[in-house]
């Protein structure tokens, strides 16, 4: 049985060309780029080249890129630095739907005595920028808001947020782990101060990422020690990972709009078919402002882990926001923040595609899923009569305060 991998927001396959590019640095070229001898020292050139490749994808200067161990490290570095480098400020603004890397770190900073504002989202997962504006104060050290949501794919208006923060002179960090490679990013146009990205979401391996630090933004490093990465991130460079990330960025840039248009069409077909063929299914997240590769669908009255197990039997990989799969006893904080009713939150499935997703794979999923949903519905004691009366099944258009 062939695996159909629709969990690309969790991680992606390493592109064969990326593997080829990094392989020499795991075998023959194992030197340390900081060494005085040529065997190591010449590898500096490969790091520089990768930095240029990343900068080209983000439209920034290579010196503004610092390699990290991944998205999490970039997020923590940014949040930590904003407070340390601006010791007179003690307030962070974030959203309620951030990845745990940001959410948990912000809450930890709150426990240490800082003030935290977590902005709500509406039923479609959208922010209200008036609320953001109202929350900004002279004490605000950082606004940290993700570019695209990993669970729903909802894309935030980052241009507007960045301009607002710039106008108020507040540092702005964006966890852009899900956006880079899926959306055009142009840091010459978008005044973001700090941006984190991760290799394994765009066909590089796990454990490598980058933090963009706009020129002039003060940075207090998280990793202190050696002088690597302009003194902003100590530790012997992960050359193989860095080269891989560079290559992955180059590949992502090649046909960004064409590839993503193809993925979007596949995603739309998957979504339309499932919503048509499975009764009591609903889409989660703003349909108009979404990553092209993500579909988050709730199958009401059944539970996500059970759906995933039956899908797994057919070789189909996806993920769920149900309590049983979240690693805790509570369902996805993202869907809860959007007010997705309990009838739907536990049965949410996220499908995330990539450039390796084939047409026939989508055909198979469209065919295999409806019987799975039907089978679990027959087991379930619940049905539409168990919806709370008046619960928001259709989403109101206005933004909730």
């Amino acid at each position: 049985m062939k695996t159909i991998y629709l969990d690309n927001n969790a991680t992606t396959a390493v592109d064969p060309a990326v593997l080829d590019a990094m392989m020499p640095f795991l075998t023959t070229d194992y030197g340390n780029a900081s060494s005085m001898h040529a065997f190591g020292g010449r590898l500096r050139h490969n790091i520089d080249q990768a930095r240029e490749q990343v900068a080209a994808l983000l439209h920034c200067c290579p010196e503004e890129i610092v390699f990290t161990s991944g998205g999490t490290e970039g997020d923590i570095t940014a949040i930590n630095s904003a407070l340390l480098a601006q010791p007179e400020k003690h307030h962070i603004i974030t959203s309620r739907v951030e990845h745990p890397a940001v959410r948990t770190t912000c809450r930890m900073m709150q426990k240490r005595g800082n003030r935290l504002t977590e902005l709500p989202v509406d039923e479609l997962g959208r922010l209200n920028l008036h609320q953001l504006e109202a929350a900004l104060t002279d004490d605000t050290a950082l606004v940290t808001i993700m570019w695209a949501n990993n669970e729903t794919g909802v894309v935030f208006p980052i241009q507007d947020i960045a301009e607002l923060c710039r106008a108020k002179g507040v540092q702005f960090h964006s966890d852009s782990v899900q956006a880079v490679g899926k959306l055009p990013v142009n840091l010459r146009k978008t005044p973001i101060d700090l941006l984190s990205m991760s290799g394994h979401k765009l066909h590089a391996p796990k454990g490598i990422g980058a933090l963009y630090i706009r020129k002039g933004t003060p940075l207090a490093p998280l990793m202190t020690g050696g002088h690597q990465e302009f003194g902003k991130r100590a530790g012997t460079e992960n050359i193989a990972g860095i080269v891989a990330l560079g290559k992955a960025c180059e590949l992502a840039q090649k046909d960004l709009s064409g590839e993503n248009e193809r993925i979007r069409r596949l995603r739309d077909r998957l979504e339309r078919t499932l919503l048509r063929d499975c009764p009591d299914a609903r889409l989660n997240g703003d349909p108009d402002n979404r990553l092209p590769n993500t579909a988050n669908i709730s199958f009401e009255f059944i539970e996500g882990e059970a759906i995933l197990l039956l899908m797994d039997e057919k070789g189909i990989c996806a993920s769920s926001g149900s309590a049983c799969t979240s690693g805790s006893l509570e369902p996805s904080h993202v869907l809860r923040a959007m007010g997705v009713p309990f009838t739907a939150v536990h049965g949410s499935i996220r499908f995330s595609l990539s450039r390796f997703t084939a047409d026939e794979e989508i055909d198979t999923v469209c065919r295999e899923l409806p019987p799975i949903i039907k089978r679990l519905r027959q087991l379930s004691p619940f049905s539409p009569k168990d919806r709370a009366p008046g619960a928001p099944v259709e989403r109101p258009e206005q933004i909730r305060l």
Binding site: E303, C324, H333, G339, F342, T343, F382
Partner: protein, 289 residues
Amino acid sequence: MWDYTEKVKEHFFHPRNVGEVENPDGVGEVGSLACGDALKLTFRLDGQGRIADVKFKTFGCGSAIASSSALTELIKGKTIEEAEKITNQDIADYLGGLPEQKMHCSVMGREALEAAIEYYHSGGKVTKPHSLEGKVVCTCFGVTESEIRRVVRENNLKTVEAVTNYCKAGGGCGGCKPDIEAIIEEIQGQSLLDLPPDKRRSAVAEKKPLTNIQKIQLIQQTLDQEIRPALQADGGDIELIDVEGNRVLVAFRGMCAKCAVSEFTMAEVVQKKLRQFVTEDIVVEEAVS
């Protein structure tokens, strides 16, 4: 993915006795949509008082479905007296074991059985097992003190984490962890000082007196972070109207009437949370508009 035994997988992929028995002698319904799992068990007795027909319907994960299926196989052909003796451990054993974090699925099975037997004894008048009545300790999942006592005793549980695995209590906001700890300590008669420090963390211990402003801020924050998201998930909302001393006036908006723990008034639930997070002597009142 969870590490399920072959038996669990087998019962999940091919569940036995799915459906509802017609004209049942016993009906047990436990769990809820909000909590993420629910089980409806129905059975009918034959002339000799043995469970002749038993069926289930389950909303839940793989192990919840497997546990329900196992339960029906375990009690089929048994008398009520025999069935009454079945514990959650029997269900787990029948399946060759369950992952620790999934033990609550076996407990849900035992609770449904208890509820169905209660229904049988009362001729359909009582539909809840005794253990699900009384004082609620965990307001996030609506778990009572007697239920916690029971899982601690029957499974010889020694940590709050284990209690959470077995009945979900403490798995939400975590505010009731000190209460659960106290219950464990009492039952196990063991000083918690024997446990590693991270297991005996006590949230109430370090509370200092609050200034009025701090108190109002903390109340607002607790409402925002601990209470509002749950209400909004059900299409409702809460608003802080006023704070006078320890009297907190709130108003409910939208649809809060039908909430996860409908046996208690919303004000009681809010009060319990505020007592956990702010101060012990808070009294919550609902503003009438």
